[in-house]
Symmetry: C2
Subunit: 313 residues, 2 copies
Amino acid sequence: VILTVTLNPALDLTYGVDTLVRHGTHRVRTVAARPGGKGLNVARVLHQLGEPVGATGLIGGGTGAEILALLADRPHAFAPVAGTSRRTVTVVDGDATGFWEPGPTVTPGEWASFRAHFAALLDGADVVVLSGSLPPGVPADGYAALVTAARAAGVPVILDADGEPLRHGVAAGPDVVKPNASELAAWWRTPPGGGDPYAAARRMRSAGAGAVIATRGAAGLLAVTPDGAWRAAPPQPVPGNPTGAGDACVAALARGLRHGTPWPQLVADAVALSAAAVTEPVAGSVHLPTYAHLRDTVVAEAAGPAAVPTEEC
Amino acid sequence: VILTVTLNPALDLTYGVDTLVRHGTHRVRTVAARPGGKGLNVARVLHQLGEPVGATGLIGGGTGAEILALLADRPHAFAPVAGTSRRTVTVVDGDATGFWEPGPTVTPGEWASFRAHFAALLDGADVVVLSGSLPPGVPADGYAALVTAARAAGVPVILDADGEPLRHGVAAGPDVVKPNASELAAWWRTPPGGGDPYAAARRMRSAGAGAVIATRGAAGLLAVTPDGAWRAAPPQPVPGNPTGAGDACVAALARGLRHGTPWPQLVADAVALSAAAVTEPVAGSVHLPTYAHLRDTVVAEAAGPAAVPTEEC
């Protein structure tokens, strides 16, 4: 089973309104509620692909109960916290305006309990996915501790994080790290768009990452792995909603690690699955016909410093 | 006990953000969650005044469970519905931007069950308050049916509604109706600010209302009752948040009906309590020192057509 970890899950609310007017009052025409957080989006894509998947993380309060109710028929084993899980509210009037609650403050005792809970869950896991933001109270080296536990248990681990949790997590030696262009540039302390992503990915490998799969929007993926480097992109730009493309990429990587898929094939597959998320209106879903079409079309090419123009980063 | 009816209760969320930017993404700095809906605001003010109060209405889903959890220590007897109770989201960046979910769609069977539930609760009630919007599915004559049941049980009933539910409700003969200026003008089919509120209130009495207490913002109250007409206003304008002043006024009226307070005294008391809500940041709360001060200051004067300049309406 692929175990996805969502330490700061959310109740994602999407409100349809006519036109958002600052300091106005709006009747919400349509309300959609979904479980959110990057780890749960990855789990939902894997479930859609028929992969065995389990979800864990920290959850609490009335909002946590609402999230769990929406997960009802999916396997999950969240650990409770005394605080209240967050909501996100996205107001759509053609384009989107987002409001993100911070999430509950996790106590040191709750974090210690979760680590024990996570260690027990590693027993049945083929691959672990660590994805998304940390709630207040979880230390910046929280993902590093989970990477260390997964490595000790011999379970491959994928990390999709940002900022200090990414920095600490890379140092703990995850099998795969999946930064986007701005996360990779911030990690290397270069301005976004500056610096050579190939060099940055190599540097991230030498800092501890087994493989680095850098997503670059319409420019596709750059993979720097122990077996070589590849890049791949969709044959033409895919119009739609890029939210969730990164989560679909992580889902493809988790499935590939579980099945021992060779890197060139896995990189092409991750590009196809990411593009199939862009055509969907919400994160955590892929358009299966688009995926089937692109899977037969996308081909990974060997990559190196010269093959990646810096202006694409 | 004063029984407050909230057919469309809400989970009221208030988000503090730095600056609302349309089509931007916002970190929510502060989150406050409160039970909402006008009837629950009235109940909260009555509770603050030490009056015995019970709350009923229709509630459902995860949001309903969150509302009930926030009411935990207050007496309530809500009837369940299969749909999900609404949220309201108010984003504050100095001024407020509001998003109002519509509420659950109530089935005919659920509405019939509620009417039976309400009839049973009338047994222990001294006064009934019907306040706020109807959720989808409750018929426009919903309040009228509840007024009729309360009258049949000999329980005085106060109605604070708008539009068609107000029109039907007035015809059923409630003891007190509390429109604001725009509700009264709409009921009389005159533009807001046009028409004579004294004449409109008299007309509403002849349409079925026992007494009409019209709120007029800073201009205070106009009361047209079986015993005469009065008006009263705070000695000077009260700066603050007018949301909730109407609910505090209804709370004062409910307490006055329960204790048999004479109209002039009750009108002055309602003005004082309404003004004491304006100084509070959220609806459903009054500032007790302001109330104590104004209660000794505000005096009701006899009113008639000539005493109410139309431009104040």
